[in-house]
């Protein structure tokens, strides 16, 4: 177990370094720079700015300086908002984004798994049909369309929930639905097909042949086996929720990290792009790692080592 963890930590770190390097190279290979728009600025001012932010140094030096900063958890000053650091953006935005992401994840899991179970147990009958219709809608409708639709009906027309922000508990309802719709549908379908498959397995017949009640057959034998495919896609699901939140945060005017990220890209705010990317990558890699560990704990067939 420890060997596996150490190994995975190593590969995670390498992956992260690679992401940082790639972002750095890509960012600098695109023409233009953070101060390119300020055309009126005299050359000496630009030079001073470049010098201030070390943009006059060779790229290699800049890269290692950046890594050095990372080790001290310093993501550097923003190029666009004087006096603010990327750390500020994350500290300000992360709580909103994380809370939205986490609530959505929990909502998705506690809704998708029972939906999948219900559909599988009532296979071919109306509860199955209802779940499948919901799931198909959730997969086919893009989240921004769903967000706009939900907002129009429930916030604007019916006035049941606030249109934007996250001030009240009810403010979460629409963003969570819009953000989680796809994952919810995907996981519900996956759970359904997985449980249907498991119910046809030989060991289920063995369990029944022992005289176990159907409830025990399902809870003790079927569900644990059926949940494994769901666990394997949990990593990508978290990734999906995280990246999906950029758009949702914009639409619902949620002051999370996503809005800073989107702005930073259009404005060539180098340090903010780098910092956000690094932060997201680190978070994602950690989540995938945790999910993997969890999955390995559930399935004894997977050797840890």
């Amino acid at each position: 177990m420890t060997r596996y963890i150490v190994k995975r930590l190593g590969t995670s770190l390498v992956t992260l370094l690679f992401v940082i390097l790639l972002t750095f190279v890509l960012m600098h290979s695109v023409p233009g720079g953070p101060f390119a728009q300020e055309k009126e600025a005299p050359p000496e001012v630009l030079d001073a700015l470049n010098a201030k932010y070390h943009l006059d140094q060779p790229l290699v030096v800049q890269f290692f300086e950046y890594l050095g900063g990372l080790l001290r958890f310093e993501l550097g000053p923003s190029f666009k908002y004087t006096g603010r650091t990327v750390n500020d953006f994350i500290v300000n935005g992360a709580p909103f984004s994380m809370r939205l992401g986490l609530i959505t994840l929990v909502f998705v899991l506690i809704a998708a798994i029972p939906m999948g179970i219900l559909a599988a147990r009532r296979n071919g009958r109306w509860p199955d049909a209802v779940v499948m219709i919901i799931a198909t809608l959730g997969i086919t409708i893009p989240s921004f369309v769903a967000a706009a639709g939900l907002m129009y009906v429930f916030a604007y027309r019916l006035n049941w929930v606030p249109t934007f922000g996250l001030d009240k508990p009810t403010s979460y309802i629409l963003p969570v639905l819009a953000l989680g719709g796809y994952s919810l549908s995907f996981l519900a379908r996956l759970m359904r097909s997985s449980l249907l498959e498991v119910m046809g397995q030989d060991y289920i017949r063995t369990a029944r042949a022992k005289g176990l009640s159907e409830v025990r057959v399902i809870t003790r034998h079927a569900l644990r086996n059926a949940i494994i495919p769901v666990l394997t896609v949990l990593g990508p699901t978290v990734a999906g929720l995280l990246t999906g939140s950029f758009v949702i945060e914009k639409i619902f005017a949620i002051p999370g990290m996503g809005s800073y990220f989107v702005d930073s890209v259009t404005q060539r705010d180098y340090t903010t792009i780098m910092g956000m990317t690094t932060f997201y990558a680190a978070f994602l890699i950690t989540m995938v790692f945790v999910v993997d560990l969890f999955y390995r704990l559930v399935d004894p067939r997977i050797e840890l080592g």
Partner: protein, 352 residues
């Protein structure tokens, strides 16, 4: 021998699809047999002949698409054909236990083997404490010769070989000393050397508990070594039933003769399937009125295609469903050899 299980006119059909017009699969068309206390009866027949469906029908383990009908189904004199779900559960495992073909897939991969055996006990006996059950499970593991049973209690199925898993399945099935053990091809998936160990284990446990065994197999050599009686199935019907020695010495059905003819090939390990009779298995959705074996039978005549033969009693406990045994059938080119005329004179039709 005292009859423990009695089955009369068992019929099992599968709905093919959702539509009522889809042709149903008549997997078991009419099966009757008895199983005596402590007896081992073999069920042989080609793939698809209805052996497994017959076995699963007895304990209601078929999917919901199956329709099982039976005129009489008694266990120890009491009918078990119309049990409630609860009564059926109480019967399964405790009175009629099963061992299946593939030990690699028949155990839950995520549950410790000890716990899987324990479940068999806890499902039927609420009085025992966890600790007492664990001790019994370890005893059962030792009984089926699993080395270091205390340690192996906590193993997962993937840590066991195929033979060990099948022994775990047997330990589980025999845990409550059931009256009947249905073993559906328990050795087909195993190496030849392991097959022998598993069969010997079953015989030993049977000797200790007096359990009756219904042994489904493709392997006539297994039948010869284990069973006192054999049932030969084809197309969802019993074609011939006889004491094992009579069946091997004097098979009275062209299909059985075909099966026995494929035995040498089996011994050479070329195939573990009885597939050397030329021709394809019958269409179970439209069995027709005649003998299902007629398209592949070299003795078939017009009568065979028109109607299904009744059973003829060849000798005590030996019956066969073939028109050749009818008193009116011409004796020339008989598959039953020289003594044919004399044999047939002894044959009496049984009423179905």
């Amino acid at each position: 021998m005292e009859s423990l299980l009695e089955v009369r006119r068992l019929r099992t059909t599968f709905r093919a699809g959702r539509s009522r017009h889809d042709a149903a699969v008549q997997a078991v068309r009419s099966v009757d047999f008895q199983l005596g206390r402590g007896e081992t009866v073999g069920v042989v027949g080609e793939s698809g002949s209805g052996k497994s469906v017959t076995a699963l029908s007895l304990v209601g383990l078929l999917p919901k698409t199956a329709l099982v009908e039976v005129d009489k189904l008694t266990l120890d004199g009491a009918s078990i054909s119309h049990l409630s779900r609860r009564q059926l559960r109480d019967l399964r495992g405790r009175r009629i236990a099963m061992v299946f073909q593939d030990p690699m897939t028949s155990l839950n991969p995520l549950m410790r083997v000890g716990r899987q055996i324990d479940e068999m006990i806890s499902a039927h006996d609420r009085r025992l404490t966890r600790r007492e059950r664990k001790r019994r499970v370890i005893g059962l593991l030792a009984e089926v010769r699993i080395p270091e049973p205390e340690k192996r209690y906590n193993s997962y199925p993937h840590e066991f070989s195929g033979g060990m898993r099948q022994r775990v399945m047997i330990a589980m099935a025999m845990a409550l000393r059931p009256e009947i053990l249905i073993a559906d091809e328990p050795t087909t998936a195993l190496d030849v050397t392991i097959q022998d160990q598993v069969l010997r284990l079953m015989r030993r446990l049977q000797g200790e508990s007096g359990t009756s065994i219904l042994l489904i197999t493709h392997d006539l050599a297994v039948v010869a070594g284990m069973c006192s009686r054999v049932i030969v199935m084809y197309g969802g019907l019993i074609m011939e039933e006889a004491p094992t020695t009579s069946l091997f010495a004097q098979p009275m059905h062209p299909y059985t003769i075909g099966l026995l003819g494929s035995l040498p090939a089996l011994r050479q390990g070329q195939s573990d399937r009885l597939d050397s009779i030329p021709g394809a298995p019958p269409d179970m959705t439209a069995p027709g009125d005649g003998c299902p074996f007629a398209p592949r039978c070299k003795y078939a005549r017009v009568r065979c295609e028109r109607a299904l033969a009744p059973y003829y009693a060849v000798a005590d406990g030996h019956r066969s469903r073939c028109w050749l045994l009818d008193a009116a059938a011409p004796g020339a080119d008989s598959p039953f050899g020289e003594a044919d005329g004399e044999l047939r004179r002894k044959v009496v039709p049984l009423d179905d």
